[in-house]
């Protein structure tokens, strides 16, 4: 396990916790704090943060998205590293803010500066801290679902797998098509619920087929969707954010 040496300047991380984790899955945030602190990182939480504006952006309300994005930019203006338990929310800042402000040079420059310091949790551990093994243990058969934004906007694919495979006692197996969408898609899941659920059904089948008792991902959006169906169908597979896994000892 890698620990940042005393002599080194401490790495400072600001948590971009996301509204979903804040309101519905606070334990994921707590797990993140544990893992980061154990690695010797100084963790902070800018308390003014709320939402990055993605729901508005994705539904076409660009003006509302811009207001929230600017607010986000001003809150995280000076932070060294911004780390989030979500590939989707990280994509919003790193990829879609550029889109949102492509005709606004001044804000674009701010976005450019901020987006190079913004990371999804698992890629931050593997690519910035250079850690694969955080010293976690877990007894169970797990499989990993690639969240669409983490995979296709941020190209995060190996990072979470490296971290998972380094967990002591873990039994990791790939499901069929881990890269296929779970059908969540934010408001898509409410606008076209039947289509969304039929895509979800196929994902649930793959998870069951894999024989795993725990389904992991980088994003609570996907896990909330998958978990919602698992619960409803009384399928004994646990959903778990990768931070929760990594904080387990």
């Amino acid at each position: 396990m890698y620990l940042i040496k005393e002599a080194d300047k401490k790495i400072k991380v600001s948590l971009f916790i996301t509204c979903l984790v804040d309101a519905l899955f606070p334990q994921v945030g707590v797990s993140m704090v544990k893992v980061l602190k154990r690695l010797g990182v100084e963790v902070g939480f800018p308390e003014k943060q709320t939402c990055c504006g993605q729901p508005a952006f994705n539904t076409g309300f660009r003006q509302d998205a811009k207001l929230l994005a600017k607010r986000f930019l001003s809150i995280f203006d000076r932070d060294e590293f911004i780390v989030s338990p979500s590939g989707s929310c990280t994509s919003m800042v790193r990829v879609f803010y550029k889109e949102l402000f492509h005709d606004d040079q001044k804000t674009s420059n701010m976005v450019e500066l901020l987006s190079t310091r913004t990371y999804e949790f698992s890629e931050f551990l593997v690519n910035v801290l250079k850690v694969d093994d955080v010293g976690a243990t877990y007894k169970g058969r797990v499989t990993y679902h690639d969240s669409c934004h983490a995979l296709r906007e941020l190209r995060i694919q190996d990072e979470p797998r490296k971290l998972i495979k380094s967990v002591k006692g873990i039994d990791f197996m790939e499901m069929k098509s881990p890269e296929t969408c779970c059908g969540f898609g934010g408001t898509f899941s409410i606008k076209f619920p039947d289509v969304s659920v039929s895509i979800l059904d196929e994902k649930i089948e793959s998870i069951i087929e894999s024989g795993a008792d725990t389904i992991l991902s980088t994003d609570m959006g996907c896990l909330m969707h998958i978990g919602g169906a698992l619960n409803r169908m009384n399928i004994p597979v646990k959903t778990m954010h990768i931070a929760e896994l990594l904080s387990n000892r």
Binding site: I17, C19, V21, D22, A23, L24, F25, P26, G29, V30, V33, K34, K37, R38, F45, E47, K48, Q49, T50, P55, A56, N58, T59, G60, F61, R62, D64, L67, L68, R71, F96, C148, H149, L151, R152, T180, C181, G183, F184, G185, G186, F188, S189, I190, K191, F192, P193, D194, V195, S196, V197, S198, I199, L200, H225, G227, G228, A229, N231, R232
Partner: protein, 473 residues
């Protein structure tokens, strides 16, 4: 075309309940995804090929007027005729005109999405001219009086059994259930149509500006027959189909064919430059190229969505799309389906006619990763969503607008946000069962009908943070 109003919501609901369709889609799509994957993987520098194709498309579309004029000049040079059609009506009129001038009684057609777009068959039938689709899939669709449900595989929604029954009913054949037998029947019927046709109508996969050549890719040989047997050949293309040079062609053949069918090369690639020459034994006496706009220049004029015109109609995005796999092609309501349909249909028909389509996607992005010309479909979808919301004719419903403003207002102010968390925690109580929300009121009922929703946490992270921020773990 003016009266079309598409409803993805209604049509997809019907598709989801169609068990036969679900089975047909599942089988065909899983099979195809594997085949395509192999064809792409075995090509050493697929990514470089995509980049090249994309660059050529960008360049060509940015200099479209020049290349189209060059194409026109070279087609005429080769002895062909060129016609310009600004919309679907004009395109139909031009083609019908050619047919009537030559007293054409029967037409054979090879596969062409552009002719589907202008509903050319209706025009022919209205003028008393017999028209027969000769691509097997299109032939089946024509017999069934339906629309294609896939750009490349128009009858993908039909099972073997469906087709067998259709042939019994429409062609009075015995019931055969083997693809070979069914193909044989179609082949026998179609052979006569080819021999008796006065005119052949084809689409165009690519047209080469510097040589005036049109290129048609196919596997059945029906396009070769359509373009050579009848005495007149009319080809219809959208303005975006032109490529500058002959040497660009190998790039496009590779990316199109591998993406469309997973083959290295299609069985037939026809390169047609003008009509039959004096020394030729076969070929049409007259060749007409109809170059059609039909809404494309409007797309061209908009920088945000211009890349929609780079599409080469390979169908790869349909096959990879999780939404298409569930709802099939007919749910998209018009000629073009899947992710590419969701971006070009609203642009070609008008955003008010297809305001559902930009939202008919989970934005998973699988389409942009398979697209051989790297069209960022999710980005265009997002742009179109913004256009829908701002469009006075459709726009967002009043209540949605209010809800979004209210939500944004809450998110802009940390104390309101905290209050909202607290209120939601209290208000959710009547709906909690075993720690989860199982039947929420509308519109959230659309979630909870088949999925549980997690309960709002009593102590949100921001409160827990205060407890843990100074702890060592």
């Amino acid at each position: 075309m003016e009266n079309i109003k598409l409803s993805f919501e209604k049509d997809s609901a019907i598709a989801l309940k169609n068990i036969k369709l679900q089975r047909a889609l599942n089988k065909a799509i899983d099979q195809f995804r594997n085949v395509r994957w192999r064809a792409v993987r075995e090509f050493q520098d697929w990514e470089q090929l995509r980049v090249s194709a994309r660059r050529i498309k960008e360049w060509t579309i940015d200099h479209l007027d020049g290349y189209l004029e060059m194409l026109e000049a070279n087609v005429i040079n080769a002895g062909g005729n060129v016609h310009w059609a600004s919309d679907a009506n004009e395109a139909c009129e031009i083609i019908l005109d050619i047919a009537q001038k030559h007293k054409v009684k029967s037409v054979v057609k090879s596969k062409s999405m552009a002719t589907e777009e202008i509903e050319l068959n209706h025009s022919f039938e209205g003028a008393g001219i017999k028209v027969v689709e000769t691509d097997l899939g299109e032939y089946i669709i024509q017999l069934a009086n339906e629309r294609p449900s896939h750009i490349i595989a128009p009858a993908i929604h039909k099972t073997k059994d469906d087709i067998s029954k259709l042939f019994v009913e429409k062609l009075n054949t015995p019931y055969f259930n083997e693809p070979e037998d069914l193909t044989k029947i179609a082949r026998e019927k179609l052979r006569n149509e080819f021999l008796n046709a006065d005119m052949g109508v084809s689409g165009v996969n690519f047209s080469v500006a510097e040589t005036g050549t049109i290129v048609i890719v196919e596997n059945e040989g029906n396009a070769r027959l359509t373009t050579t047997v009848p005495r007149i050949h009319v080809a219809l293309m959208g303005i975006e189909k032109v490529i500058p040079r002959f040497e660009d062609l190998p790039i496009f053949l590779n990316i199109l064919i591998r993406s469309a069918t997973g083959q290295k090369m299609s069985t037939y690639v026809s390169l047609i430059t003008g009509p039959k020459r004096n020394s030729d034994l076969d070929g049409p006496e007259e060749f007409h190229l109809v170059i059609m706009d039909n809404g494309r220049s409007k797309i061209l004029s908009n920088e945000e969505t211009r890349e929609s015109l780079y599409c080469i109609r390979c169908g790869a995005c349909l096959y990879i799309c999780p939404v298409y796999k569930k709802v099939g092609g007919h749910s998209y309501g018009w000629v073009y389906q899947g992710p590419i349909g969701a971006i070009i249909t609203p642009q070609l028909l008008g955003i008010d006619k297809a305001s559902d389509l930009p939202f008919a996607s989970s934005l998973c992005g699988a389409c942009k990763d398979v697209c051989p010309v790297k069209i960022n479909i999710p980005r265009v979808l997002l742009e179109l969503r913004a256009r829908v919301i701002n469009d006075k004719r459709v726009g967002a419903r009043f209540l949605l607008r209010i809800a979004v403003k209210l939500w944004r207002f809450t998110m802009e102010n940390t104390s309101f946000y905290n209050l909202a968390l607290r209120l939601s925690y209290i208000l959710q109580k009547p709906w909690i069962r075993h720690g989860r929300l199982v039947s929420l009121p509308f519109p959230f009922s659309r979630w909870t009908k088949k999925r549980d929703f997690p309960a709002i946490s009593k102590i949100p992270f921001r409160k827990q943070w205060k407890e843990i921020k100074d702890l060592e773990f």
